[in-house]
Structures are given as structure tokens and as C-alpha cells.
Amino acid sequence: MKNEREQFLRNVSEALGRTALPKNVVKPDWRGDVQHQYMKGCTQEEIVEAFKTQCQNLTLKLFETTPEKIKETMRSVIQEYGGGSVIYADDEQFVSYGLENMFQEMEDRHEACFVKWEAKQGKEKNIEAAQNANIGITFASMGLAESGSILQKSSSGCGRSVSLLPITHIALIHKSAIVPRMTQTAIRLREQFAKNQENFPSNLTYITGPSNSADIEMVLVVGVHGPVHVAYILIDDLV
């Protein structure tokens, strides 16, 4: 393998007119370029407003709430999407916001049934639970104002399946985590990688609304392989 790689790379070097790999390449600094101009100097409120407007443009369902009202909002959103079986990520925030308790109450009242994604249960059980779930709930790590996207990282507590296999995906996102565009997430991801490569998520996905396709006569069909519905719950944590 080593040998194949060396030969392959030597061939590329020769195509570029040199005999060996360059020792060091200085990457141009793009920080003065156009991508950094978007919403430059805007306040966090303005960035959040832009996010909300973009979600509206995309007819993406967005529910606003506060840390105090989050349980109420969550309950009504789950009901709006038909309740049934719900899978949620193993994330400490479900506990700290009191959502886990609220889920238990809903279950007691037979309003829905809840399964937590639990790594120790193994692959098959977890995937089966997600596959059978009507709703999957996750906390997203960032939001993008320009495109109305959220950034979802995979982890042991939040498998890729939670936001993918159920019919509906509900994503919780903090207002403080909304940035102008992908540019800001790129910088943070680079920092995260530099700090600890081993902990860098094996998968991260920028999600923007439900899955769709225009492969048949260019007619937009919503809900192909991924979720058919996506709802964001925006938590106001700005003081």
C-alpha cells in the first residue's frame, strides 16, 4: 500500500514538474474575502431574524420558545406531528431542560411513547427503534442564517439514524448558536479538529428541511429517503 501511494504521489508531483512533494505549502488567507462580508457587523438579533426569514422563505416549520416554555412547546409540536413513537438523542440537555420528565408524563398519559437512543443497546436495537419511530428529536449544534440550515453532529449519544430514519425530525437550536453562514462553522470546525482530532465527529451534516427530489419531470417531491417533515424549535437563550 505504502508503495502504491508513493508511486501515485510521485506521478502527481512529476505531472506538476517536480521530483518530490513540496515540504510546506502556504495556503492563501481568505479571511478578507467575500464569504466573510456576509452579515458582517450585524448583531446576534439581526442574524437570528435573518435565520427566521430564511426558514419562512423555505416554508420550513419553526417554533420559537424560551427555556421556561420549552416543555409546553415540545409537547404541542410532538402532538402536531402525530405523536406515536418518538426517539430522542441521549443528550444531557433533555434532562436539564426537563424534557425527559415531560416525555415520561406524556407517556403516562398515553400521548406518545418514547425511546432514548442508547449506545449500549447496540446497533440493531437502536436502528430498529429509529426506523419504527414517527419522530426523532435532536439538539443541533449550530444554525445558518443565510440558508436556514442546522448543523447536526453524530456522537455516541446521537446516532446518525435519529435525524434520518423517522418520518419527522424535530431539531432544537439555540438562538446564540445561529451564525451568518457556513463560513463561521468552517472556522470553528477547524479549531475543533486542531484541538482534538480524536474527538472530531465521525459524521456531521448540514440539514436544511425535509428530503426532496425533482428527479421525475422536475416536479418537486418532498420526502424521499430522509424525513418527510422537519421542524425547528428555536430556544431564546439571548439575555
Binding site: 506538476l16 426506523q131 456522537s155 482530532q197 448540514y206 426532496n212 416536479v219
Partner: protein, 476 residues
């Protein structure tokens, strides 16, 4: 399917496509819709030219240091636990994929869209091994169900089929019992393919961009099949053309924005996923093993040639969607999985001139392709370069052009003959015409009159009219 999708000669492919009215209508409509949306996004951005400049700079910087970044990619990917394999040829790539599938004793394979996988014809190899291969992109699944029909567009591969045709093949070959409503048919595909995802042993994907600094591979999709393929199967094999690399997340985000705006005319797709290594030991979904196969297959030759800028291509298809020739002849005429202007430049580079010498001539050189290209590849100039090489070095100009130019050379170099000929021509043409137009030509004229009428030459030649005008004669 391999790089070439047809063994028929160019003229025959052309004839077939031009006679297919549905195909032509579908393509015109798709061009108008996608291009209209693309234009909206460009206007919205405002400073689009600055974005194009930046994107070109990123692509050029990467290509000029491609050996360095490939090495960086490989080192980081391996640190993440990814197996990286460098394949000089498509045979090497196929052998490696075969060995992985073999070792896993895998039978069920799901694929998300990958042009490289078509280029190396891996489906053929896998099917010969007795594997059950399923294309999961909706359009590609439609083509598969229709007895592995060939794609006509790099972004919308089943563009040449209408809902009735799709309904027919679903009913006949997949046990579908519903109506021809696109939503209903897509739902059927969702159910059918969900089963396939859940039972698959190996997932094969393409790669929109490889990120050198983190050793990551990425997929830009709308349907979510790319995510499915990288979530359930225990083994993931990702195929990447060696030029599909960029240095870091910072360059990645710029190019993703350009790709999506240019290809489908939205700000972003439903999913942009980045995979960095196999699943962690404490994670339960995602692949246990991740293999990345990096393919040369002629790319290093392009890198050192005057066609280097073609490797800047990010496969957005904007050049197909604007091209007046593509509009009329459709993707199948190009005879390659890569069609339109980018295909006319790339196919001869990957496959030689021998069977592709007509492609650089399938262009009006209007330059619209170069103008929309988000990474500023001078496509029409590269097409012209191809023509020069074909004529000068290879002596392989299409027969018609050789005769035409030889004749024209003789004709134009002898003023007397030229003058006589152009005086005589109108009378000859009149013999063939009806109401001042020729609707059925002979010999070489066929190529023109097959698709439109040829006006009869005026009796008075421009030169004569101009001479008279100077002397104060006919003003017309």
C-alpha cells in the same frame, strides 16, 4: 456502465436524439427551470464575480499543490482510521473494491450517485461477482429499473423519461400498482429502497469534495440516500477522483455554496454531510470500516497538459444547462456519462480522440458555458484547443469538416473560381428550393436541412451590392 454509454457513431446518436421530441422538450424545460433558478441565486448574491474569482483561486491553488494535499489527506484519513487506496487505473480501483467486498463476503450493496463509479464501471464488476447492486438516487434507480438505461444529465440523470414512461417501467419491472403521480411513485421508491438500505452489507458513495486537513469526504444530496448509505451498512467504500480535493473546511464551504447554486439553483441542498473516519468505538451507527479509493485514471496526464484547468471542475452541470447545443442534441448524443460542454472537453481527455473526435465540434463556441462556470474553466477555449490538436496533430478532424475545409481552401484561394461559384450557386439552389427555402438537402446539406430549412442564396452577392452601393447604386 462505463465512461462511454454508447457504441453507436456520433451521427447515429445525434439522429436518434434529434428525432425524439419528448426528450428535446424535457431538456429545454429543465434547462429553463434550473437556469432560471441559478440566475436568481446569482442576482441575490450580488457580487457573484468575486465569488467566482475566489473559487477559481481555490481550485487553482489546490491543483498546483495536489501532490501535497493528497498526501495530507491520506495521512489524516489514516489517522482517523480510514483505509486509503490509491488507484492509478480503473482496473486497480475495481480490483481493490472487489477485494473489500470479497473479504466482507458481502452480497447486498447499496450505492449513492457517483460519477467515478460509472467511469470505472464498478457495477459490472460487482454484478459479475454475484452481488445485488442497488442504485439509490431516485433517478438512477429509475434507470436501473428500466434495464440499466443510460443517464442523459450529470445532475438529473433520468431527464429523458416522462412520468408515463417511469410509471410503465415501475409497473412492469418493480411490481408497482399506483398512478403516474410523481409523489406517489417517489413514495413507492422510498419504501422499496428503505428495505435495501436496512439489509445492505456495503455502501458505495461518490465524493463531492475531499478535505485534506481533516481527511474527510463529503456528499451533497437532496434525497438523503447519501446519508442512508453511510449510516446503515457496516462497510463504506467512497470513490473519489484525485482532483476532487480542497485544503480545509474553509475552502469546502465556499465551493459547496458555488456547487449548489450553480447545479440546482438553491442556496444549499437538504443535506451536506461530511464523514471523517469510520464510526467511533462508542458509536453504534455509521460504518465499522471506511475505505476511500482515490482514482487517477488519466487525471495526472490532464494535470500536466494545457487542459489542467478542466480539473477545476466541480461537476455542477451549469454548462449543460446553458448550452444551446446540449439543448438540441440532449445528453445521449455525447455518448459519454459526461455530457454537455464539460463532457465534450473531458471525455476526449479520459478516453482519447479516436472515438470522441466529434465531441469538441458539438459546440457553437458561443462561450456561454465559460461564462456560467462557477470555477471559471475557459470551456469554449478548451474545446477550440481540442479542435486544433485533432486537426494539427492527430489528423482526425471529422470527415465532413476535412472535406469542407479542403474544398473551402481550394475555393477561397482562387478568386476566379470563388467568384464564378458564388454567381452560379443561387441558380443551383433555386432548382432544389420551394418558396425560397430548401427543405430537403442532399449530401452534406442534409445535416442542415434535417432539422431546419436552408434559405436560398440571393442572386445579388454582398460584394457586388456593396460595390454598387459605394457608387451610389442600389440602397435596398
Amino acid at each position: 456502465m462505463a465512461l462511454k454509454i454508447s457504441n453507436e457513431p456520433f451521427q447515429q446518436r445525434l439522429k436518434k436524439s434529434i428525432g425524439d421530441d419528448f426528450k428535446k422538450g424535457a431538456i429545454s424545460q429543465a434547462q429553463d427551470v434550473i437556469n432560471g433558478r441559478r440566475r436568481l441565486r446569482v442576482e441575490e448574491v450580488g457580487n457573484w464575480e468575486e465569488w467566482r474569482d475566489l473559487s477559481e483561486k481555490i481550485r487553482k491553488h489546490t491543483l498546483q499543490n495536489l501532490d501535497y494535499y493528497l498526501n495530507m489527506f491520506c495521512e489524516n484519513a489514516e489517522k482517523n482510521g480510514t483505509h486509503v487506496y490509491f488507484a492509478k487505473t480503473k482496473e486497480e480501483a475495481n480490483r481493490y473494491i472487489q477485494s473489500v467486498v470479497d473479504k466482507k463476503n458481502a452480497k447486498k450493496i447499496v450505492k449513492s450517485k457517483s460519477m467515478v463509479s460509472e467511469e470505472i464501471d464498478v457495477n459490472h464488476v460487482l454484478k459479475e461477482m454475484g452481488c445485488d447492486v442497488t442504485e439509490t438516487d431516485l433517478a438512477e434507480w429509475i434507470l436501473q429499473v428500466d434495464d440499466w438505461d443510460v443517464p442523459s444529465h450529470i445532475i438529473v440523470p433520468a431527464l429523458h423519461k416522462d412520468r408515463n414512461r417511469i410509471h410503465e417501467v415501475f409497473t412492469k419491472n418493480a411490481g408497482y400498482t399506483g398512478t403516474n403521480d410523481p409523489t406517489e411513485m417517489a413514495k413507492f421508491a422510498r419504501e422499496k429502497l428503505r428495505e435495501k438500505f436496512l439489509e445492505a452489507d456495503v455502501g458505495i458513495t461518490g465524493c463531492n469534495f475531499g478535505i485534506a486537513e481533516t481527511g474527510s469526504v463529503s456528499l451533497v444530496t437532496n434525497e438523503g440516500n447519501g446519508r442512508m448509505v453511510t449510516t446503515v451498512p457496516k462497510t463504506q467504500i467512497t470513490l473519489m477522483g484525485m482532483e476532487r480535493l480542497i485544503p480545509t473546511f474553509e475552502e469546502f464551504e465556499v465551493l459547496v455554496g458555488m456547487l449548489v447554486r450553480s447545479s440546482v439553483g438553491t442556496k444549499i441542498t437538504s443535506y451536506v454531510s461530511v464523514t471523517t473516519g469510520p464510526r467511533k468505538s462508542d458509536e453504534v451507527d455509521g460504518p465499522d470500516e471506511l475505505h476511500v479509493v482515490i482514482l487517477d485514471n488519466g487525471r495526472s496526464k490532464i494535470l500536466q497538459s494545457e487542459f489542467q484547468s478542466m480539473l477545476q471542475c466541480i461537476r455542477c452541470g451549469a454548462c449543460l444547462n446553458i448550452c444551446p447545443v446540449y439543448r438540441h442534441v440532449s445528453g445521449h448524443t455525447y455518448g459519454s456519462i459526461y455530457s454537455g460542454p464539460m463532457g465534450a472537453v473531458l471525455t476526449p481527455l479520459l478516453d482519447g480522440y479516436e472515438t470522441n473526435k466529434e465531441l469538441p465540434y458539438a459546440s457553437t463556441l458561443c462561450g456561454a458555458c465559460s461564462e456560467v462556470c462557477p470555477v471559471k474553466i475557459p470551456l469554449h477555449e478548451l474545446l477550440l484547443k481540442h479542435r486544433q490538436i485533432i486537426v494539427e496533430q492527430e489528423g482526425k478532424a471529422p470527415l465532413m469538416e476535412s472535406i469542407l475545409f479542403k474544398g473551402a481552401g481550394m475555393f477561397l484561394s482562387k478568386p476566379g473560381v470563388y467568384d464564378f461559384g458564388t454567381k452560379l450557386a443561387p441558380s443551383f439552389m433555386k432548382l432544389m428550393s420551394k418558396d425560397g427555402k430548401i427543405t430537403k438537402g442532399y449530401g452534406m446539406m442534409n445535416a442542415w436541412t434535417d432539422s431546419r430549412d436552408l434559405p436560398v442564396m440571393k442572386k445579388e452577392k454582398f460584394r457586388d451590392w456593396f460595390e454598387k452601393r459605394k457608387k451610389g447604386g442600389s440602397q435596398r
